[in-house]
Amino acid sequence: MDDFERELSEAMKRQPAPADLKRKVLERRRREHAQRRQSRVMWWQRLAASIVLAGVAGGAVYWRHTVEVHKGEEAKQQVFTALRIANRALEQMNVQLEQQNRKAE
């Protein structure tokens, strides 16, 4: 290092930072931490809301499906009942026809 470089080192010493730099940094840090905490809380709130919504929607779909299955089952039972009634009527008619045939003979 020659004289010029030594003078340069001397002239280029670190300068003191503004007196309130640390205060400003700590203030911004506090704000940033609060914001981060807030956004974390909001994230959890959104997640919880999404889970609740998904649960409600899923429940609704399941309920609707159950109602439809129940209705289908009822309709099936009605059809079976109708078929049983028709079958009985046909059997009665058959009996009557056989009785009439026998009388005719």
Partner: protein, 176 residues
């Protein structure tokens, strides 16, 4: 042991605020912007605090980020068409150590003005070399540049500065 070291943010700010601010100030020449850069650098440090392994790591990390933030700020200003160094802030060297003589203060201001006329890469290398007292190898590691490039920037920057100083500082000496 380095592994047991727990970073204390406030202590790191206390220890390194002058270094970070001075790097930003010498790179940008704008006290307001330098203060803003220093704040941003420390907030970034806070976000990376968990990854800082030792006091030396913190120092190197702060130097690297301060330089990179200052370069980004200069680039943004250039894009906006503002030449930051056209007019150096008159208060550039207003805050100095109380034990510095007025002549030393004026000399430092003069050197900063001359430094400001150098190309950005040369200025960065010289600031790291003479403000931070780093070796070319350390500067290369900090700036992420090849060693040969750093040496070339140092050599050319010093030559240019010497040439400018030979006229300006002689005038200054005569004036003083």
């Amino acid at each position: 042991m380095a592994g047991d070291w727990q970073p204390d943010f406030e202590q790191l700010v206390d220890e390194h605020q002058s270094m970070v601010f001075s790097l930003a100030l010498r790179m940008t020449g704008d006290r307001g912007l330098a203060e803003e850069i220093a704040q941003d650098v420390f907030l970034e440090l806070d976000r990376h605090l968990g990854r800082i392994e030792s006091p030396l790591h913190a120092l190197a990390w702060l130097r690297r980020v301060a330089m990179s933030r200052s370069t980004d700020a200069l680039r943004r200003r250039r894009v906006r068409g503002v030449n930051m160094w056209v007019e150096i802030n008159e208060n550039h060297c207003a805050q100095v150590d109380e034990d510095s003589s007025p002549m030393a203060v004026r000399l430092a201001a003069k050197v900063d003005r001359l430094l400001a006329t150098l190309p950005e890469a040369q200025r960065a290398a010289l600031v790291m070399r003479y403000q931070e007292d780093l070796t070319p190898e350390e500067i290369a590691a900090t700036l992420g540049a090849p060693l040969a490039t750093v040496k070339s920037h140092l050599q050319r920057g010093l030559k240019l500065l010497r040439a400018k100083a030979s006229t300006h500082l002689q005038e200054y000496s005569r004036g003083a």
